[in-house]
């Protein structure tokens, strides 16, 4: 592991000043400029895919396929999509209004909010830095990127690549830890986009409140999986285990735990064992052939291992530990709602299975917790869908798969309640960094109908200007 070079506080100041000036100069406004920067971003990933994979392997032991699918191709697609649509997104919107003011040029202008700050986490360091950046570039916002110091090779690579491909007058990387991040948060921004845990999310939102800076918080939570009566258990087990194994469970939308109706538990356990042996044909997942990744650092490793050590459930498969580096994908059965594995978001490769009587009990247990980023359900039952829609809350709701919603860029992605607020992907990313500035232009000719609005007030003027309150209210 390399030691990451921190940006000096003096340089942080210079960067902030420089980017503010760039914004004021209007450099990032022209569509052609934004398109160019987006294409450069796509080029950056195309030309450095191997280096990116290597950095992720060094810091996280992440298999290159996961980097390719979840990070590299994701950013390229997102940048190209934005480049293609940004002109349409930035076009001022002519708003239709009531007839009598239709000559008032009622327009909503899409204006960049200002200089933006993107703070990203260690688990998917490239996409979670650059996917939001796509929105900031498209919106015309110069941006400071603050990658996570917990993945120093990745952070250093980001710092070396960005100046080579993007305009340094508008896009800069600040590396460091608490000191540098605090220096950034002391300042007002056009928008702060934070992805990470709730505890830090609160600190960031509090600092942002002091400068009245708007914030997007993409947090986490314990995303539950619901197994329903009529689902295909083999398929469910495979798709759940697939989701869980992504980045050794270190994913905001990782399927955290599974609720299984009592009478299906035995069959589900068998299905899990089958899926497990298909994914990891070698005796243990820690075998070199399995390319099983790391827990990011000893501190997290000890945390996750601690949860597993204290469980009162039974290990079905897995359970092996590799020093302070890795934990094998592990499925634990007979877990109760007050188990250690249910205390916090696991963010590790442990899958607890909880037995329930039925869907109603599952919904009750889910509703006791805070709103997660996603609820997964394996079902084809319309009634189950209605129940989950109406009786639970979550960022998203996904049926019959896990984690794939990250690839469906046409739908807004974001949390609800304690899993965060704000959303992004496609136009939502653009909107995140855009202020919708309403504008009207009231012609002199309108003076003819404005007589009643001016003082001195009179009964006639009052009657004329308040007649709309007499409108008939619908009966139902």
């Amino acid at each position: 592991m390399s030691t990451l070079q921190h940006t000096s506080l003096a340089e942080v100041e210079q960067i902030y000043t420089r980017l503010q000036r760039t914004f004021k100069d209007g450099t990032t406004r022209p569509i052609a400029y934004r398109r160019k920067q987006l294409l450069q971003l796509a080029r950056m990933f195309q030309e450095n895919a191997a280096a990116i994979e290597q950095a992720e392997y060094t810091d996280l032991g992440k298999p290159k396929q996961e980097v390719a699918i979840a990070e590299t191709s994701g950013v390229i697609e997102s940048a190209l999509f934005a480049a293609e649509h940004l002109e349409e997104w930035s076009r001022p919107e002519k708003v239709q209004v009531e007839e009598w003011r239709s000559s008032w040029d009622t327009t909503v202008y899409k204006t960049p909010k200002g200089v933006a700050l993107i703070i990203s986490p260690w688990n998917y360091p490239f996409i979670l830095t650059f996917n939001p950046l796509v929105g900031a570039i498209a919106a015309g916002c110069p941006t400071v990127l603050k990658p996570s110091e917990v993945v120093p090779t990745c952070a250093a690579l980001i710092a070396s690549l960005v100046p080579k491909y993007l305009d340094s007058e508008a896009y800069a990387v600040v590396n460091g830890a608490v000191t540098e991040t605090t220096a950034l948060l002391d300042k007002p921004w056009g928008h702060i986009f934070f992805t990470g845990g709730g505890k830090i999310g609160k600190i960031i939102a509090t600092k942002a409140a002091q400068t009245l800076t708007p914030v997007t918080l993409e947090l986490g939570g314990k995303s539950p999986v619901v197994i329903d009566e009529d689902c295909d258990l083999q398929l469910a087990a495979r798709r759940i285990l697939y989701g869980k194994t992504q980045n050794s469970g270190q994913l905001c939308v990782s399927p955290d735990h599974v609720y299984v109706p009592r009478h299906l538990v035995a069959d589900f356990k068998e299905a899990v064992k089958v899926a497990y042996s298909t994914f990891f044909p070698s005796e243990t997942a820690l075998h070199p052939n399995s390319h099983w990744g790391n827990i990011v650092n000893p501190s997290h490793h000890s945390r996750v291992k601690g949860l597993l050590d204290r469980t009162l459930g039974e290990i079905l498969v897995g359970g092996q530990v590799d020093g302070a580096k890795r934990i094998a994908p592990t499925v634990v059965t007979g877990v109760k709602p007050d188990d250690s594995l249910m205390e916090e978001e696991i963010f590790g490769p442990i899958l607890p299975i909880l037995e329930v009587e039925n869907l109603d009990e599952t919904i009750k247990l889910i509703s006791n917790g805070s709103s997660p980023l996603v609820i997964y359900a394996f079902t084809n039952n319309e009634e189950t869908k209605e129940k989950l829609l109406n009786r639970t809350t979550s960022g998203s709701l996904v049926f019959n798969d896990t984690t794939i919603q990250l690839a469906v860029h046409e739908m807004p992605f974001g949390g609800h309640g304690e899993s965060g607020y704000g959303a992004y992907y496609d136009k939502n990313s653009f909107d995140t960094f855009t202020h919708k500035r309403s504008s009207i232009n009231v012609p002199a000719a309108a003076e003819a109908m404005f007589g009643a609005r001016y003082r001195p007030y009179s009964e006639e003027k009052y009657a004329l200007m308040t007649q709309s309150i007499h409108s008939k209210i619908p009966e139902e």
Binding site: L39, K202, S438, I440, I473
Partner: protein
């Protein structure tokens, strides 16, 4: 609870968030039929109590019936009718079009209520600023607590009485009181907080919300400047600027705070202002028949007077004071940038005129300053309008009028930067209280397709190659 004064005890207030959460969890506010029913009741509440509301506004701040009717009742009623006319459309899940290869996946976005909302309203437009947001909360399916300002107590008490009479008491509750009561409310977690008021308290509310990871709409204020260009119609400009300024004696978030006027037209502009003033006030302004309102309380009155007393400008009209409640509409010319009247949002009936060499100078000054709720500009020069759009920042931009944007409910209304964030009016009110919940239903048949198979471990070079095709696609040149 004391039903006469409509105040809950602290102990009772502590229970309210849980009560509302129970209502929300029960799903009662979800059906569109329920929300329509509440909105209809809400509409009746306004229609059937117009006089009582207008009288309460008169009592608390001397607001003329005309302003109570046009600025408070009409916009509230409009927001209710707009919600009733559109709620089905707003609440309908949206089918998202996706890439061809996943077009048979169910991809819907469900607009769902965020949960329980807290609406905190200020004293200056105490009825509309509590109830316009409430229309959005009801339409969105969110139970809500409304906390009116204690500085407009007659309206606050009436609001509590009417809401209890007309709306579902298990879902919409008015909580009255001061700082202790508001603190109790803010100690609980809400799913959205809608705050209208000043930036100082706005920051405090935002910090409290941050600790609970609660989203907020902050409708704040600022010094909304007016820019007058040489090409303007001086007569109409003066009339429209004064009109905006005298609304509620200047106690309005989008009040035209001060005016930049090119030196060449200052004499004509000042005379036109005087003519407009004479038109508005045929009699002495403090005569009862002129229905001139009050400063909300003496602290506020004194603060505004202090700014006026410390000005180095020249009072060319007005300046009269009645007790510690009334200040006449006052025009002060020759204002330098560091004048006392330029220190803070005036929020009173004083109009400072700042001489500039030309309109470009004004635009430069505005571009340097913080972002106000609105910038007003009087000009027909398109190039100037473009400059304003490009070089200045504000919640909204209004050309050739003041104040009237509050009635254009089809456009989002909100601040930017120091003047706040989030918007409302029309569908934006619904959106403020709504979470868009993405719903994805993935067919089970896909595991037989090669791409899906390749995603599962054990990973292969073949799978990797398939997923990295995009690395080799040729990028457009520009």
């Amino acid at each position: 609870m004391d039903t006469d004064s409509h105040y809950f005890t602290i102990a009772e207030i502590e229970e309210i968030p849980a009560r509302l959460r129970k209502t929300f969890r029960s799903g009662k506010t979800l059906p569109v039929a329920y929300r329509r029913q509440q909105l209809i009741q809400f509409g009746r509440m306004v229609q059937e109590n117009r006089s009582a509301i207008e009288e309460a506004l008169k009592k608390d701040m001397g607001k003329p019936r005309f302003e109570a009717g046009t600025a408070e009742l009409v916009p509230t009623f409009t927001s209710i009718i707009t919600a009733l006319n559109n709620i089905e459309e707003w609440a309908t899940p949206e089918k998202r079009k996706v890439e061809e290869w996943r077009s048979d996946w169910e991809t819907m976005v469900y607009p769902v209520p965020k949960g329980c909302a807290l609406i905190i309203a200020p004293w200056n437009y105490p009825f509309v600023l509590a109830f316009n947001p409430l229309a959005g909360a009801i339409a969105a399916g969110c139970p809500a607590v409304i906390k009116p300002s204690e500085h407009s107590p007659t309206v606050a008490a009436l609001s509590a009485k009417l809401v209890r009479q007309y709306l579902d008491p298990e879902a919409y509750i008015v909580v009255n009181g001061g700082i202790p009561e508001t603190t109790v409310l803010l100690n609980h977690r809400w799913d959205h907080i809608f705050y209208t008021g000043n930036p100082t308290v706005g920051r405090i509310v935002a910090e409290v919300a941050a600790k609970h990871l609660t989203s907020t709409t902050l409708e704040l204020g600022g010094k909304s400047p007016v820019v007058v260009a040489e090409d303007c119609d001086v007569e109409i400009t003066a009339r429209r600027v004064l009109w905006g300024k005298v609304q509620n004696c200047g106690q309005l978030c989008v009040s035209p705070d001060h005016v930049y006027v090119p030196r060449s037209i200052i004499p004509a502009f000042t005379e036109a202002l005087k003519r407009a003033h004479a038109h508005f006030y045929p009699e002495q302004v403090f005569n009862k028949s002129m229905e001139w309102g009050k400063m909300i309380h003496c602290d506020h009155h004194n603060r505004v007077m202090r700014q006026l007393e410390q000005t180095v400008g020249t009072v060319v009209l007005g300046g009269e004071v009645e007790g510690d409640t009334k200040i006449a509409p006052t025009i002060v010319t020759g204002i330098p940038l560091d004048d006392a009247l330029m220190e803070a949002e005036i929020f009173g009936p004083i109009l400072p005129i700042i001489p500039v060499d030309n309109v470009e100078e004004a635009i430069n000054l505005i571009a340097e300053g913080p972002s106000p709720l609105v910038i007003y500009a009087f000009t027909n020069d398109e190039a100037l309008q473009k400059r304003l759009i490009r070089e200045t920042r504000s919640g909204s931009l209004v050309i050739n009028d003041t104040y009237i944007q509050l009635l254009v409910y089809e456009l989002p209304f909100g601040g930017f930067g120091e003047s706040g964030n989030g918007t409302y009016f029309g569908k934006h009110s619904f959106d403020a209280f709504t979470h868009r919940r993405s719903f994805l239903h993935v067919p089970t048949s896909l595991d037989s397709t090669p791409l899906f198979q390749a995603r599962y471990p054990p990973y292969t070079q073949q799978g990797y190659d398939a997923f990295t095709a995009i690395l080799n696609t040729k990028l457009p040149e520009s």
